[in-house]
Amino acid sequence: MTDLNIVGKSLEKVDSLSLACGTARYASDCMIHDPLFLAFALSDTAHAELHSVDDSKAREVKGVVDVFHAFNTDSGLFSTAGQGFPEPSPYDTRLFNKRVRYVGEIVGAVLAESIEAAREGAAAIKLNYSELPPLFDPEKSMDADSPKLHGDSDAYAPLPVPYRPEENVAGEVLFSYGDLEKGFAAADFVVEESYRTHQASHCALEPHNASAYFDERGRLVLVVSTQVPFHSRRIVSRALGIPGHMIRVIKPRIGGGFGGKQEVLVELYAALAAWKHKRNVRAEMTRSQVFTSARTRHPMRVRIKTGIKRDGAITAMDMNDVMNSGAYGAHALTVLSNAASKVLPLFNKIENLNFTGRSVYTNLPVGGAYRGYGATQGYFPFNQHMDEISRRLGVDFLEFVKKHHIRVGETSAVFEAIGEGTEGVSQTIKSCKLDECIDRGAKEIRWQELRGKRVTNGPMVKGVGAAVAMQGSGIPQVDMASASMKMNDDGSFNLMVGATDIGTGSDTVLSQIAAETLNVPLEKIIPLSSDTDLTPFDVGAYASSTTYVSGRAVLLCAERVRDQILSVASAMTGTPVDQLSLGESRVVNRTTGEEVSFSQIACHSLYSKDQFQIQASASFTGTESPPPFAAQFAEVDVDTETGRVRVVKFVSVVDCGQAINPKLAEGQVDGAVLNGISFALSEQYLYNQKGAMTNSSFWDYKIYGTLDMPEMVTVVLDSNEPSGPYGAKSVSEIGINCPAPAIANAVYDAIGVRIYDLPLTPEKVLKAIRSRA
C-alpha cells in the first residue's frame, strides 16, 4: 500500500508529552478524599492447614480499622486470571484460603488510617497452622506419593477442559498426528534432549495497585493498574458478590504490564475493604510483594525427541512439557497450549508429531501471563534443538530453518487442534517474510564472517547464534474488541475503545487507523480507552491482540462513520454518494470539485436538517490469528575463565505486517529484547529450603540497565497481512521469544558447550566448560 497518509508513519505517541511532563496520571495518583490504606500479610509457610488467624494484636495497632482473613471473609472459588468467560483457568482460589500453598500467599489484609499503621497491623497478624509436606519439584508432582495441593478441595474447571487436582494436574494438552513410531523408524538418527526455562518477574516499574472510591450515587469506582478492565469488573463482582452495575473500573495510564497485570489481584482487596466500610481505599503491593505474591513466568521442562533423515527431513517429533503452575492454576492450561500452538506450526513439515503437556501444581509462587505466553518457554528448547540437529546434519542453521518453516499458502494441523480451552482455528498463512528476516539479520550480525570462527581475545571467545519464532495476533474466535466513534461540530472525532493502552501505544495506533480511514490529521482523533462506564468492551491488552483485533474494530467503526459523512454530504450537495470522495477533512465532488468540510457536514447533521449525530460502533472477533515472524541474532563473548557471557550485539528482524507506527513497533521489539536478554542471563528466582524467595528486590534480582545493554539493532520489515487493518499483524510479544535461544546457540558456537537450563549464569557456563574439559 503506497497511498497511506497516517498509517505507516512514526507519529508521536498521543500520550507521550503528558508522560514526559508528568501530567499523566497512574492509578496511585488518583485524587481520592481521605483514603484508608491496605497492607497485605503474607504466608511464611509453603504448605499448611490454617487453624485460625489471631488478629487481636493487629486490631490493637492505633489507626487499624479492620483486618480481613480466611476466618472472617468468605468468597466463592474463582480464578485471578483475567481471561474471557468462562475462564480456561481452574477456579481454585478464594480471596483468602484456609489451606495456604506458598510462601508469599496473601493470608490477610489490614485496613488502616495510614499505610504505616496498616503495615504494622499486617506484621502483627499471627497464623496458627499445621505444616503439610511441601512440593517444590514439578517433575515429582504427579508421583503417587506427592502432596496433593488441591486434591481434597472443591476446585473445578469452569470449562470442559482436563483438570485433575487429585494428580496435581492443573491443565493438560495432548495432541498428535501421523504415526510417531513409524516416523522414528524411518529416521536415520534421533536427537533427544531436555531443556528448562525458569521463573521470572515482569518487573513493570509501577507496582500493582488500585484506588477505590464511591461516586455520587454510591457506586464503587476502581481505578486499577490493569491490562483487563472489563475482566476486572466481572471477576471482582463474582468474587465479592457486588452487583456488576455497582462497579466501574477505570484504567488510567499504566506503568507497564507485560502480562503481570492480566491478573485480578490488588483491586479485589481494595474493593472488599471499600465496599464493607464505604470508605475510599488505596492498595498497593510493595516491590517485594510484586515478586513473591503477584504472578511470574511459568517455568517449563521441555523434552524433545526428534527423528531426522540425512536429507534433513524431520520424520517424527515427540515433545513433552511439564509446566510449573505454582500454587494456583492461573493461565495453567493456556500458557501450556501456547508452548505448542505458537511453536510447532513454525516447522509445519514435521511428518509425525506428538505433544504431551501438563501443568502441575507446586508450593511455589504462582505463574501467570507473561509476554510471550508459553511461546518463550517453547522457543528456547525448540531453537537449541534445531541448532543441534542442523550441526549434526552439517548444514547451516539458517538454511535448515528456511527448509522447514511455514510459508504463505501453507497451514499446520496444530492451528486447528490447539486453542485456548477450546479447539483451535484452522488458518492458512497469508504473509510470511521469515526468509527476509533471516537474510537481513544474518547480514547485520555478520553471520558468514563470525559463525564457527571462534575468534579469541585472551580468555574471551566470540560466537554468534540465531533463533526464529512466530507468535499470533489475538485468540481467534475468542477475543472480541469493540469501538465507538462520534463526530463533533468542528470535524474532530471522539474514539472510544475498550482496548487497553498499558504503555504499548495502542491509543496512538488505533487513532492512526481511525485517522487514516477518515482522512483527518491524527490530532482530530481524541481517543478514550478502557473505562467500563464510558467505552465499549474489549478483552484487554493480551495475546498480541490489540493492533489486529481492536484495530479491525476501529477500522470497521471508522468506515461506518465515513459512510454517514458521505451520505450527509450527499444530501447537502445533492450529489450521489458514488460521485463523492474523502479529501483531507472534507468531502469532494469528483466531477465538479465542489467541497464541503467535515465541520460543515457535522454542523449540518447536528443543527440544520434531519438532525442526527454522525456516530457508529463496531465489534470484531478474529477468525484467524496471523502470526508475525522474527529472526533474532546474538553475538556473544564468552569468558572461558569466569563463564560470563556478554552479549556484544543483538539483532532482531521482524515481519509484523504493515507497522501502523514503525517507531512504536521498533520500541516494542527493543523492550522485549532487553527483557529477554536479561531473562536469559541474569534474572532468576532464588529460594531457600522452605520455599521462600530470597531475592525479592531489584538489588538481588538483576534486570538490565543502560550499562548492561548490548548494541541493539531492530529492523521492522515492509510487509503486508491481507487480513489485518491496513495490513498489520501484532508485534508486542514476539521479540521476547528468541534472545535466550539465540544467546544459548551463540554460546555453543563460541565454546562448543550447550546450556540446557536457563538462566545462563557464569556458574553454570563455567561448570559446563569444566565438565567438558
Binding site: 507521550s16 508529552l17 508522560l19 511532563c21 496511585s28 499504566i254 504503555g503 528486590s697 543502560t706
Partner: protein, 155 residues
C-alpha cells in the same frame, strides 16, 4: 514537624512526620509526577534533583531536605511549554508506559548540565540508576543525544 522547601521554584511549607521520606512528602503534597517504583532506592523512578543533584527521593528524609531546592519533572517544562529534553523524548519514541520517564529526564538533565555534549558511554553511565522495562533504553539514549545537540545549539 514542619519544613520549608523550594519546589520547582516556589517556596512551600509542609507538615510531615519526622521519618517521612521526601518521596512520600512530595506525593502527599500534590506532586504525583514523582513515581514510586520500589521504595528501596533501586529503580530510580522517584529521582528528583535536590540542590541540583540527582537523588532517589525514597531514600532521602524530608527532614534532611528542608531549605533545599527540589526540582521535579513539572519544574523543567510544561505540557504547553516543554523543555527540549521532554520534546526529544517524545520525538524519538523514548516513552512507552512513561512511568520511568520523569526521573529519566531529570537524570539526563543532571548529566547535560555537567556535560553538555556527552558520549554514548557517558549517557549510559548517567542513566544506569534509572530502570526502564519497556524500551530497552535504545530510544532513550537517542533522545538524550538529540536533546544535547539541540540544547548546545541553543546555547
Amino acid at each position: 514537624m514542619k519544613g520549608s522547601f523550594v519546589v520547582n521554584g516556589r517556596s512551600v511549607e509542609w507538615s510531615f512526620e519526622p521519618d517521612a521520606t521526601l518521596l512520600d512528602v512530595l506525593r502527599d503534597n500534590g506532586h504525583p509526577e514523582v513515581h514510586r517504583g520500589c521504595d528501596e532506592g533501586s529503580c530510580g523512578a522517584c529521582s528528583v534533583l535536590l540542590d541540583g543533584k540527582l537523588v532517589n527521593s525514597c531514600q532521602v528524609f524530608a527532614a534532611s531536605s528542608t531549605g533545599k531546592d527540589i526540582l521535579t519533572i513539572a519544574g523543567i517544562g510544561t505540557i504547553h511549554e516543554p523543555h527540549p529534553l521532554q520534546t526529544a523524548f517524545v520525538e524519538t519514541g523514548a516513552i512507552q508506559c512513561g512511568f520511568c520517564t520523569p526521573a529519566m529526564i531529570l537524570a539526563a538533565l543532571a548529566l547535560l548540565r555537567k556535560n553538555p555534549n556527552p558520549t554514548d558511554e557517558a549517557i549510559r553511565s548517567a542513566l544506569d540508576g534509572n530502570y526502564c522495562r519497556c524500551t530497552g533504553y535504545v530510544k532513550i539514549i537517542e533522545a538524550v543525544r538529540l536533546a544535547s545537540r539541540r540544547m548546545s545549539a541553543h546555547d
